[in-house]
């Protein structure tokens, strides 16, 4: 038999570290709220999904999307009428964040100020 990958039998997956789901508190700066008004218009059926992906220079990357709904298991927070979705799987990384907007020609856009981040990479999109 070649390399035995154990895929035909019932090899159990290794124990994954699954962080505890926390109830996320977050804030949106006034500048970011202005930009969200521009993005959403009067339509409050859409939501801002604030997620985290693995990768980036520091290990985690922020993932901001405007969505109607998502398959991910999320908790929903409503701030000044804006629906914000936070995936439970990354809730431990996002509790206490501030969603801000930086208005400059280079590197501008939505920014996450995260008290849980020990360090961030140069572009600010990745943190650990």
């Amino acid at each position: 038999m070649l390399m035995d990958c154990g895929t035909c039998e019932t090899s159990g997956p290794v124990q994954l570290m699954t962080p505890e789901v926390v109830n996320v508190n977050l804030t949106i700066s006034s500048k970011a709220q202005e930009m969200l008004v521009d993005a959403f218009g009067d339509d409050r059926s859409m939501a801002l999904l604030v997620g985290v992906l693995s990768g980036g220079c520091s290990g985690y990357m922020y993932d901001l999307q405007i969505v109607e709904d998502t398959d991910q298991s999320c908790q929903e927070v409503t701030i000044d009428g804006f629906r914000v979705l936070v995936p439970n799987a990354s809730s431990h990384l996002l509790d206490g964040i501030e969603i801000d907007y930086v208005d400059r020609l280079m590197g501008g856009g939505f920014k996450i100020n995260n008290p849980n981040a020990d360090s961030s990479c140069g572009c600010g999109e990745s943190f650990s």
Partner: protein, 235 residues
Amino acid sequence: MPRVAYEDASLTVWQGADALQFIDGLSSNKIIDMVQGEVRQTVFTTTQAKIVDLATVFHMGGFLAVQTHTSQLGMLLKHVTPRILDQEVTIVDVTSRNQFCIEFGINNANVGKFESLDGITHGYIDEKYSLLIASLDVESDHIDDLESFHEWRIENQIPWNGFEVTRTNHPLAVGLNQLVHQAKGCYIGQEVLARMISRGRQGKKLTRVENGTIDDKYVTTLGQNYSLAIIRESN
């Protein structure tokens, strides 16, 4: 061709739609474009670009078989599994079902490919050596002459896990430059390695030295007449 048992090898199976992208985002070589039948090495690194483990990834089609090292597996899993988050990735440890050896002193023409010969998976990971993996029921001949293997490594400046490839070094310092892809984009440790490359300063370098010409503390693999050492570039 001589074969030597690879005692510290481990094998995990990574399944799920996001497995390839997941490894690509956490390690130094470009993995995302791999297709079935290819084998490629990559290095998991910390944010300081220190080595977590050297991995050999076999693209098996529906899943990835990833050879790493038993001595590092706990730390590697601790490094990667918190980052799975919502991604579709499962990891299964199948080390105990397999045996591993290195065939060395060869001239591989199909580097980057793997195939099965006589019931053994041959991964052509380097021009000069192959990684062989077989299930436990396969009779696999190998020599136990580690000394000749390490002499061959010294001659060819091949870094090895536990000797040069350790958690205190970064990939460039141990001669794994070919596993640090310069255009793949962000991964953990990328900023540090990119800075070293762009400035042309990597600090330390793997070197073959004649015994007695350098302080023993720099020697990583001691040979009969020559050794491998990691020394500061200015030394």
